[in-house]
Amino acid sequence: MIQFLFVLLFGVAAIWFGVKVFTTASMMRSALALLFSMAALGALFMAAEAEFLGVLQLMMMATEMSIMALFMIMYMMSPGGLTPMEMTHQKRFSLVAGVVTALLIVSVAVSQFREPSAVAVAPAPDAQLRGLGGELLERSMLVFQAAGVTILVAMIATTAVAMRRHE
């Protein structure tokens, strides 16, 4: 019951901050709203007893969204929101698309929902850590290596794209 209340609370917080991202005029507040939406997602993971994933989400999303705030200030016009600008296009189409997609997902979720016969028990957090580590290094080792190489390639590619050309 308590878990249900927490999931509801953090879920509403995540949605509210997510909507704030696109409705606020100040760009800095937009980036920070996305940060708090992701933090609410991290709290949701912890409420679902995936402790490592929740802590990881909190840490990584705060870092990434702070960097995004930096890029916001670099590349956006009117970052303080003091001169409100209309920066949207095809607004009605995207609103319809968003609502239709959400309703589609909701209908699939509700129609395919079957109440589980027994309440699933999540393993204890330290057993989860060991299990995840074992899974990473035994069964999903190829995925793990591929992800590592992908990150390295992305780092090199990003640096190469963003370097100044000396001509």
């Binding site: 878990q3 249900f4 999931v7 509801l8 509403v12 995540a14 949605i15 997510g18 991202v21 696109f22 937009s30 980036a31 939406s37 992701m38 949701l44 679902a48 995936a50 994933l53 990881l56 989400q57 990584m60 990434e64 960097i67 995004m68 890029f71 916001m72 670099m74 590349y75 956006m76 920066m87 949207t88 296009h89 095809q90 607004k91 189409f93 995207s94 698309a97 609502v99 997609t101 959400a102 997902i105 929902f113 109440e115 699933a120 028990v121 989860q128 299990g131 995840l132 074992g134 899974e135 999903s140 995925v143 992908t150 990150i151 992305a154 590619a157 990003t158 794209v161 963003a162 100044r164």
Partner: protein, 102 residues
Amino acid sequence: MSVLLTGQLVAAVLFGVGLYGALSQTNLVMIMMGVELMLGAAMLNVVFFWRYLHPEMYSGQMFMLVLMTVMAVEMAVGFGVATARFRAKGSVEMEEAGELRG
């Protein structure tokens, strides 16, 4: 009401909000924020599926780590492209990015 269903509804609404943002914004940074919201909604779904349908199999958590890697990599490459575009053109508005040359 079941906790799993609540989580899925939250993820659906977040996905819708992210899609609205990704389609309606003109600035590349804002489009990327919409994509981040969509990926966040997917991660939420994966974690709730893991917790309530198969908590004994850790491949669910592994997939969640892959999604987080995708999020980080997408953000990095996106900002690299934005930097290059900003240097060439002076803005990252996608309305002006309709042509291939110049």
